[in-house]
Amino acid sequence: MFRFVLRRLTLTVPVLIGVSTLVFLLIHLIPGDPVQAMLGDSASPQDIDTLRERLGLNRPLYVQYASFMNGIVRGDLGTSIRTNQTVTSAIAERMPATAELAAASMTVAILIAIPLGILAAVRAGTSVDHVATTLALLGISMPTFWLGPLLAIVFSVSLGWLPVSGRGTLAHLVLPAITLGAPLAAGLARMTRASLIEELGELYVLAARARGVSRVRAVLKHAFRNSLIPIVTVLGLQFGAVLTGAVITETIFAWPGIGRLLIQSISARDYPAVQGCILLIAVTYVSVNLLVDLAYGFLDPRIRYE
């Protein structure tokens, strides 16, 4: 197990270096002078020089790169141009909101997807299955940026049941969590169905039934447990969709998280903050994938020895 963990960790390091390098290069992809782009056309040459110095853009590229990487290791992501706050503290402020939204939407997804997937698998080939499968495809095709406003029109504007934007009470969380959770539920339901159908075809399920185990118990206690590994993996992989979906969902519902910070920083041309948000989201994604891989090796010992 130790060797497996070590190998996965060593594989992750070059990816993290590559990600940081790409994020570093972003600011150099800006066409023309990045400092001019950040400050706008009306900026005085003095302001431009000051900011160029502050961002270190007047130094040779390799020095900039070394200091950027050095900063990342020390948790220093620079200073926001828009607010003069350090990017690290701006992100730390917004983090709880995004974490709350992500957790809530994954809960919504699991609560919808697992029962739907089990139902479709047990009744595979029947109309129940077709309805569930079609519902799942509908969910996958439904863009977050349409579902969100539609839910707001129905539940906030017409019915007046839930607040249309902001964060604070549990009621504020409901619409964003459903908006972000529904497409996840769709993918997860498909995986649950496929994985459970696979297990239901195995001999041990038949053996359990032959021993007199009830149908419900055979499905839930025997087959479903074994189908959990691919389901957990998909849940982990879907975390990437949660992170990108959060950018859109937070924008729709004015939810004060990292995604909204990213979009606000982009429109303000606050590139240090943009770099910080992108880096944080990518690193979170890589870490979650690593954890899923490790969990996979933990759940299924065969993986470790591959």
Partner: protein, 277 residues
């Protein structure tokens, strides 16, 4: 329980429903704007935000422009983005993936490391970052979506070619003196094509939804060009007084994406009979 025949028919039905949706939308995109009595850009400010009526079936937007005309014109942008992004991504990804698998060594290492790094950015995030620094425009959206798009094809084709490389007919071709180019082009890449076609169909859905998402965030196609995402973005300010601004462009996106997903799923089942459970 896993009676193949019973599940197969509905899958085929969905494939046909999907194909019909895509074909109808394509016809609407091509012919629609020619048949419409309204220009998607012309404004009737006095009637702004007016709801659906006999003269304007989908109503008018915040500048008094006919929403149906704009949805039809937006379909052209969606198809343009889908076709461009998918063709470039599929071509680049297939070539690099096949070369990585065939030559191995340094080539494989190089391609695989780039793929690993690009896959470390979830979904749209890298496209958002690229468009943020390059500036919002249709061209940059196409570029950014291709940069994140080719990776999936490269990984897929690499796997397929790695397997096919060991087949006897491929070994035979090499023994007979066929060069790398010929073996790749004639023998290896064709084995990967069915999987690439399935991925490309689902990729159309992905590219269309991604463009709309970027435009919705204000990072994509810029006004006054009608894109479904830009229209949804414009509708956000009028959720209270004019929900029809949000309803119709969103419906168009969902329908077309659903169509491509149905076709992609159906084709996957046809290409891989083992999935037909």
């Amino acid at each position: 329980m896993n009676d193949g025949v019973r599940t197969r028919r509905p899958q085929r039905t969905l494939l046909w429903i999907g194909a019909s949706i895509v074909a109808l939308t394509a016809v609407a995109a091509i012919a629609g704007p020619l048949l419409m009595p309204y220009d998607p850009a012309s404004q009737e400010l006095a009637l702004r935000l007016e709801g659906p009526s006999g003269t304007h079936l989908f109503g008018l937007d915040e500048l008094g422009r006919d929403i149906l005309a704009r949805v039809l014109a937006g379909a052209r942008i969606s198809f343009l983005v889908g076709l461009t992004v998918v063709s470039f991504s599929a071509f680049i990804g297939t070539m690099l993936g096949a070369m990585a698998a065939y030559f191995g060594g340094v080539v494989d290492d190089l391609v695989s490391r780039v793929v690993d790094v690009l896959l470390a950015f979830p979904g749209l995030l890298l496209a958002i970052a690229l468009v943020a620094v390059l500036g919002p425009s249709l061209g940059n959206v196409l570029f950014a979506l291709t940069i994140i798009g080719w990776v999936g094809y490269a990984r897929l084709v690499r796997g397929q070619v790695l397997r096919a490389r060991e087949f006897e007919y491929v070994q035979a071709a090499r023994a007979l003196g066929a060069g790398a180019g010929r073996v790749l082009w004639r023998h290896l890449i064709p084995t990967a094509l069915p999987a690439v076609v399935v991925q490309a169909t689902l990729g159309m859905a992905g590219a269309i939804i991604s463009e709309a998402a970027l435009s919705f965030l204000g990072l994509g196609v810029q006004p006054p060009t009608p894109s479904w995402g830009t229209m949804l973005n414009g509708g956000r300010a009028h959720l209270l007084d004019a929900p029809h601004l949000t309803l119709f462009p969103g419906l168009a996106i969902a329908l077309l994406v659903l169509g491509f997903n149905f076709v992609g799923d159906g084709l996957r089942d046809l290409a891989d009979p083992r999935e037909q459970r």
